[in-house]
Amino acid sequence: MNSAIRVNNLGKKYQITHLPKQRYRALRDVIAERLRTVFPGRSKLSRQYSNREEFWALEDLTFEVKIGERVGIIGRNGAGKSTLLKLLSRITAPSTGRILLRGRVASLLEVGTGFHPELTGRENIYVNGSILGMRRNEIRQKFDEIVAFANIEQFLDTPVKRYSSGMYMRLGFAIAAHLEPEILLVDEVLAVGDSEFQAKCLGKMESISKEGRTVLFVSHNMSAVATLCDRAILLQKGREAMDGSVSSVIAHYLEATPSAEQLGDRTDRSGTAHARVTGIEFRDPYGVISRTLVSRKAFEIVLDVEATQEAIGKPVSVIIVVCDRAETRLFSLYSEWQRSVLEMKEKTGRLICSVPQGFPLIPDQYSLVIGLLVKGIVADKINNAAQFEVISDDMFGTGTVPSIGFGPIVVNHSWFTAT
């Protein structure tokens, strides 16, 4: 009886419509579609509309969380983490299975939801508080605390449209943090604000869980998961891959990323084979090896190369092409552009490409094509040689993370009105 969350055979199915790109449908299309089925002479057209694919974002998930437990949900993008939180917070309904929740649930999927720019900070505290499920008396009681936590005393009666993005986020989090639910669902909100505020948020979340509340925390930030949670669940392609102590699951997650060693064994490659890439790893400035890169943060790509007698001592060049999920080529890193002189001195060696500014990519899954040239002739070329994931930094300082619909590249920029 002491479980806070019990999930049985939970599944969520989405239908992907291929033809019309919008998620919603136009009435005119529906009418047209109906008409076509009435006049079956043109049924070929209507068949295009039924070109739908089912996609299970989450499948057959069963787990239990005890009261007071702090559980991290980890996994790559698209593993079903956000879907799970949406189901638990009742934003969307499951396709199969059941969820039993004991206690008040609050979800921090996005802070500041329901803020109206024209209203003042004071007014928005009341509106947002009630949207999150607080009672009026509760808000009144915690009002001063919220204001102090967000540090916006002087701007209480200013419309939030005049707030800086930092103030906006602080106020949003402050309200949510004072919900005092029995079950708290958190999705990556800690990625917002300056580091001082992040520390404050982490502190608040720790104190929430110390009070015996149940916390479910979805994050890409492994160190935050490790400090906050005692247990973790790893999701892979919508299914549970591992459930255990936080350290063991994180270790498994970091290992499980398809690693470099098999690259030398792959046969789907072309070229003269005078030299071959046998391994690839991504290394951050502290020497930590990971397949997860932070957008626009420095790292190095390290290639292990094996050379035959023909290649040793000859000039070598390397091209790395970065591709998105659809294997569209986005940009390349090519040693010839810099006239970098690379050379294989022995039978095995390492070539390193330093990327001081990191990749300006939005959070998603990407892959690399690697080409190795000896004296300008392709010696080795591997498509999809490695996959890696990019996670966001808070580049705009607003917590807003561009989604894939805006294109894969993020560029720093600012807007202003001409004077």
């Binding site: 599944g11 989405y14 919008q22 998620r23 919603y24 449908r25 136009a26 009435l27 005119r28 529906v30 949406k86 189901l87 917070s89 009742r90 934003i91 969307t92 309904a93 499951p94 396709s95 199969t96 299975g97 059941r98 969820i99 039993l100 929740l101 004991r102 206690g103 008040r104 649930v105 979800s107 999927l109 996005e110 939801t113 329901g114 109206h116 024209e118 209203l119 007014e123 009341y126 509106v127 009630s130 949207i131 999150l132 499920g133 009672r135 009026r136």
Partner: protein, 275 residues
């Protein structure tokens, strides 16, 4: 907070706690309505002026065209009052439906981020229109004084007709807002229905110009009973109120509300997926 201790979510099952949830979230209804009103009247002068000018202008044009030029009968009421007393509930209805239908889509980020009974969003959007209505009621009161009409005890029944308008508007709003999420081009249909409704409702003319035999058919439009009621209690219409119009109006409104609720409940679980 005793009742919401345990929540069971199951696939393909309509929630048992639906109405309980709605009750538990009643304060959200209040706050959302409050938010809309605050935003609406933030720029006070524009907000109130609009509420006053719109019915006055419409009334003048209708009186001129239908009363003076077309010389339609006024059943013993001053023509401007005949128009104004019908215009008030009509504008309440049309504003509520127009704004309410867009309310779910307008609050898409709330719906995709947070759980709350979705019905609260379209329902609370009607409150603003009611506040607007109360302001424009002041104009009607002024006009009544100008024409020397004593409202008498009948005015006590005004809340009943106001409630009928709200229920009719609520039913349409719930249905339309859900359809609007599903089919994003439905808003064009709404615009047309509202425009069309003004012409088929007895706003600019008295119902007495409709042939007797067709009046009951005409009264299938719930606005007919509502407008008759408003004229009866406000505009100095001395004819007795035709109760069958009122009952028919309530019946049709209740049916629309039921259909609206059924459709809303059948689709609301997928709002977050499609919005």
């Amino acid at each position: 907070m005793q009742n919401d201790r345990e929540i069971l979510i199951e696939a393909n099952q309509i929630e048992r706690r639906y109405w309980l949830d709605l009750w538990l979230y009643r304060e959200l209804f209040y706050f959302l309505a409050w938010r809309e009103i605050l935003v609406r009247y933030k720029q006070t002068i524009v907000g109130i002026a609009w509420v006053v000018i719109r019915p006055l202008l419409t009334m003048s044009v209708f009186t001129l065209v239908f009363g003076r030029l077309a010389k339609l009968p006024a059943d013993g009421m001053p023509y401007p009052l005949l128009v104004l007393s019908a215009l008030l509930p009509w504008q309440l209805f049309s504003a509520a439906v127009t704004e309410g239908s867009a309310s779910l889509v307008g609050n898409a980020n709330m719906i995709s981020k947070i759980y709350f009974p979705r019905l609260i969003v379209p329902a609370s959007s009607i409150v603003v229109s009611v506040v607007d209505f109360l302001f424009s009621l002041l104009i009607l009161m002024a006009a009544m004084m100008l024409y020397g009409i004593q409202p008498g005890w009948k005015i006590l029944l005004l809340p009943v007709f106001l409630a009928m308008t709200c229920i009719f508007a609520l039913g349409m709003t719930i249905l339309f807002s859900a359809l609007n999420v599903r089919y994003r081009d439905f808003r064009y249909v709404i615009g047309f229905i509202v425009q069309f409704g003004l012409l088929v409702s007895p706003v600019a003319f008295s119902i007495s110009i409709i042939p007797q035999a067709w009046q009951m058919v005409y009264a299938l439009n719930p606005m007919v009973g509502i407008i008759e009621g408003f004229r009866w209690c406000l505009a100095g219409n001395h004819n007795p109120l035709n109760m069958s119009f009122v009952l028919l109006s309530i019946l049709v409104s209740a049916m629309i509300l039921t259909v609206g609720l059924m459709y809303f409940r059948a689709t609301e679980r997928t709002f977050a997926d499609v919005i």
